[in-house]
Amino acid sequence: MIRRLLTPKRSAPAPEYAGNCDLVEDGVVHGWAWLPSAPEAPVEVEQWVDGVLKARSLADLPRDDLAAAGIGDGAHGWRMLLGLDPRKTDPQKVEVRFSGGGPVPNGAFEMTFGRQPETEPEPASALARGHCDGLREGVAHGWAWRPLAPEEHVVVEQWVDGVLAGETVADGVRPDLADSGVGHGAYGWALPLQLDRAKAGPQRIEFRIRGAGPVADGAFDLTYAETDAERSDAAEAAEPSGVVGRCDGLKGSALYGWAWEPSHPDTYVEVELWIEGERAAHARADQFRPDLRSNRVGTGRYGWRLPIDLRLTQNGPLAVEVRAGGVPLPGGVLELKNDFSLEDPANAELRPFVEAVLYGRSKAPAAPQPETPRLTCLAYCPEPTETGPYWMREYDDYPAAMRAFAPALARLGEVVVVHDLEDAAAICAERREQGGACVLFAFGPPRRAPLETPCRMIPVFAWGYPVIPTGSWDGDPRSDWRNVLAFAGRAVTFSQLARDAVLAAMGEHFAVAAIPPPVSAETAPPKPPKRRRTLRLHGVVFDSRDYAYDPEKPIMPPRIWTGGDSFADGVEIELDGVLVTTFMDIEDHRKKGADLVSAFIVANRDKADATLLIKLTELNGEWMAGVYKWLTAQPAFACRVVGVRGPLEGEALDAIIAASHWYATAPNAEGLCLPMQSFLAAGRPAIAPRHSALADLIDDESALIVFSDEEDWRWPADPEDGSFSWGQHPDDVGPTTRHRVSWSSQVSAFEEAYRLATAAPDEYARLSSVAARRARETCSLEAAAAAVQELLGRDVRPEPGPAPSPLMRELAAE
């Protein structure tokens, strides 16, 4: 993060206006403007770049410094995203002007797109601060943070003789820091010294903040012997008898811990409980502790437990010591208080529970304020655009992606779903006051990412092409995604292709993670569906067996079947044999529905026990006629095609998954494939090409791969061909690629799918179990939470990266 105060030029305000352009920071220009003669009048400023009006902003942001300086009520600040043209490599002339007035003082300067303003490089220590507090028992402790981004955690590295020997995230809770005004205080770190035991001489130890610089007092020389001595000093001070161990603390009504004598691993140590200077109990440390075993602590049979009567604490705090060999164990000197008093404010959270149990619901007092968590994850997903220009329609299901991500974010902190930015601002202000921090995860295409957020914003988006949009239109700098990404500094995408596309545009060190939305996965091995089964479908259902097809009649005739009373109630269908399920939106031309249906029918023309279930996700009611048209285009077929449109979640979806053998899809580009993830996790292998986001999820051990290769693709030019999903205007940059899916390969894959499901149960079972295992590995909550955590601690260093399209790479290499 670079901060630059623009050098004041000649001050020449327009006669009536006053203001200043204060600084340019992270692609945003800040300043203030007002009309002293009419302080209440709204003042607008304009941003001109190379003579083109790029942005307008009302100067109405409250600023304490302005109020203090007597500039009206202080609400005269403004900020604007710099609208530099990314296609220009030369410096561009930026001019900030009062609307209807002259230039804003210091508002004229030149900048080059993608380059930070030329300025004296500030010392890195100004960007991040930290301190090494000292060594204890061979472990260095300290704290580190980045004052400009208090909600993030920096990474502290340990360098020994110029070698990176260890690293940790500085996120330990340190109330002392918060007390002394260091953000929310959770910036502590501890790193065990990693000296080379082979070196006899002193070794240079340096603690550094990644991407910033050394921490204060974090560089010193030590020999291995010294640290060893220090370690053994500590050990000796605690345990001259050579006993090593620890008191882990009080759990329930007993103290727990472990103790052993490394020189005599087969003997058992006696531990004693001393209360107020008197020996109250003793126990043998001989209980098995798997954690000790896995940490190579002898045989691992060194655990101990000492029961303690907590009623003794009712009369006041008790001094307690756990001793082994006559001296206290580390962690074994405690003061036990009665922590269970209902009156103790520390227990306020549990009080309603106890009182509810004791007195019933009616007596329970109002819930107290819950303790504020360190990090609050604001999940924000603007309402998807369903109307408007064709290129604004979104097909990717961002609300569902947000629901899938929420449990992973919950592992990092409290998750609050916000529906508008005002809510977000209110929550942010509240959390800050309580010493917490917020990060806003904006689910949706970067074109719609909110830039006026009260805290750091991380765009979370789907993308299926090797190039991200970098065009400019409508004066909205967000149409060039690089502006949004540079502003956010970090991004989450759902696929490796999307991540690589971002890296290609933003540089290979840009902080972007590819995280497929986590799906809940059963741990039980998947069971294949029965041969004959009944499936209840909710919503409007279309069944090919209900119609006699007449190619001369393209209009859908009435049904010939009268099995159900009403479409809307859904119907039960009797299934026999193989069921292939696909989710599609007929209007989403990426999905190639017509090809998928024709390939299925061609492959299963003579198979009465093969069914294709199409779950339609679109809103318009024309889908039934659309499916009917695809079917009439085919010669007579014995197989069956069922379409269903309606809300399909929870049990209804689980029932479909359980009844299906396969999940099929054949898009030419895919950014997000939640339905397929759910099918895979349930052991339903896929019939799909292996490209874009699909490539992260399947391989030939977990799917029948349909052949595809790259083809030319541009953002569609013809509204008739409208196939948009990312809220992007067609007037965009040059070419990219998508994938041409082979229809004949799809036919072969459907034939093979039928064969495996009917005649080769072992092969099918193998695909099924691999699919389930891979999906659990790739789309787990743990992996997603860890990836987001890692992303929050990363730095931003822009530099161009390689193109992720093999064809483009090949052409560039020649």
Binding site: A633, P735, W743, S744, L811
Partner: protein, 436 residues
């Protein structure tokens, strides 16, 4: 032997119907004339139902045999004539129409073939498709339009890499992308822009385009096609070319368009090109009917002939260029399988896709066509460009092109096949008359 010939289009209507679906049957018929003259006499008729049987009766009276060659798709072949009839047709699908629609039984080609008892088609793949429906014994001969001799006689020297030279193209408008800014045709511009610009161009050029010289250099790729014919797949051809040669000003693609209306023919291509991003290679659209000399000059200027079709019944332009020793960048499916080889072409792999018989207005999926691989097309363009700079390699490709096409459609080869057909006809007619 009298050959009575007929086609839906004749000389007089060709300028007006240029680019219409059946126009190429006219050219097929013209190409057959030298061979028919070798084997007998020709009589062209405009109204077959009235004229054919009259000619046939007169010939029979003289003891002469007749064969009525209808250069038309089978569903337009006149039936019910006394004179022996053979449709001469082009076809590029694995299945022949075996259903009838709109109450015309001839849409079911089996109905037509059963009544003619014989047929001539332009490639092996079409003969195979007919035999799949009619049985292995059905009498069908592969008689491609014999264009080889006429074009081989031009004896222009094939050169892969060309030093700068001027190409004079009388009669045609040359729209050269390196001359103007395509941004006027970008998608955000009103779609009428291209049409209006082209109308203005036409008005300005009324009374004859100025005989402007086109200065070419490097490697020149040429394709002759009708952009309205979706089977030609000019989109891949053009986009693949731009992908392959985005930074190569010495690569030129000349598209000789066979389409009457300039707005219909040129405007969609300009709009498409404007969306391809910046490129240094040249794409030249030729609009208008070239004189024979100008057509020969265009072949002369060409290093490679290009085809990216989803199916071909013969592809006469490709065969003509190869006759003149121009190797190809093309797929090897349908008719191309008869003459495209790794020795004479850079073969673009293709894959089958569900398709519609082109004249089936019901739009039902009863056929397969062949989609080329875009990524491989780009690679073949690049390989061919390198080969053009290796004179010895290019010479081998060129010689192999001529040789392959000679074996496919020289007058000798086609006359031989026709003679087989006539022998069979004589035998069966003789047998009929003996039993009669």
């Amino acid at each position: 032997m009298i050959f009575i010939t007929h086609t839906t289009f004749d000389d007089a209507s060709i300028k007006d119907n240029y680019g219409a679906p059946q126009y190429s049957y006219h050219f097929v018929m013209k190409a057959f004339e030298p061979v028919l003259d070798r084997l007998g006499r020709r009589e062209h008729v405009a109204a077959p139902q009235r004229e054919v049987d009259a000619i046939y009766a007169a010939a029979r009276a003289r003891g002469e045999d007749c064969l009525f060659l209808s250069f038309s798709p089978p569903q337009l072949t006149p039936l019910g004539l006394a004179c022996p009839t053979a449709p001469v047709f082009a076809w590029e699908y694995e299945t022949i129409p075996d259903e009838s629609w709109t109450d015309d039984p001839r849409h079911d080609w089996r109905y037509v073939f059963a009544r003619t008892g014989m047929a001539l088609t332009l490639c092996q793949a079409a003969a195979d498709a007919v035999r799949r429906s009619m049985g292995e014994a059905y009498r069908i001969w592969v008689t491609p339009a014999p264009v080889f001799d006429r074009f081989a006689a031009l004896s222009s020297e094939a050169r892969g890499w060309r030093a700068p030279f001027d190409l004079m193209l009388e009669g045609a408008l040359a729209i050269d992308t390196s001359d103007f800014d395509l941004s006027a045709f970008r998608p955000e511009q009103p779609p009428q822009n291209a049409e209006r610009a082209l109308q203005m161009l036409q008005v300005a050029a009324r009374g004859g385009a100025p005989g402007r010289a086109l200065r070419l250099e490097g490697v020149v790729y040429t394709s002759v096609l009708c952009p309205r014919d979706s089977r030609k797949n000019w989109e891949d051809m053009v986009a693949g070319f731009v992908w392959a040669f985005r930074n190569t000003p010495t690569a030129t693609l000349v598209l000789k368009l066979t389409q009457a209306g300039i707005e219909d023919a040129v405007a969609p291509i300009l709009r498409f090109l404007a969306g391809l991003g910046r490129f240094d290679c040249r794409i030249v659209l030729l609009h208008g009917l070239l004189s024979d000399a100008a057509y020969a000059a265009l072949i002369e200027a060409t290093s490679f002939a290009v085809n990216t079709s989803v199916g071909e019944g013969q592809c006469m332009p490709l065969v003509e260029y190869m006759s003149c020793g121009r190797p190809a960048v093309a797929p090897a499916h349908t008719a191309m399988a008869d003459y495209i080889t790794p020795e004479n072409a850079f073969i673009v792999p293709s894959r089958q896709r569900s398709a519609i018989w082109p004249h089936d207005d019901r739009g039902l999926q009863r056929a397969r066509n062949h989609q080329v691989s875009f990524a491989e097309l780009v690679r073949r363009y690049r390989e061919s460009y390198r080969a053009a700079q290796d004179p010895e390699r290019y010479r081998r490709l060129s010689a192999a092109a001529t040789e392959s096409v000679r074996n496919f459609c020289s007058e000798d080869v086609v006359a031989g096949r026709l003679r087989e057909a006539l022998d069979w006809l004589h035998r069966s007619l003789g047998a009929e008359r003996r039993t009669a």
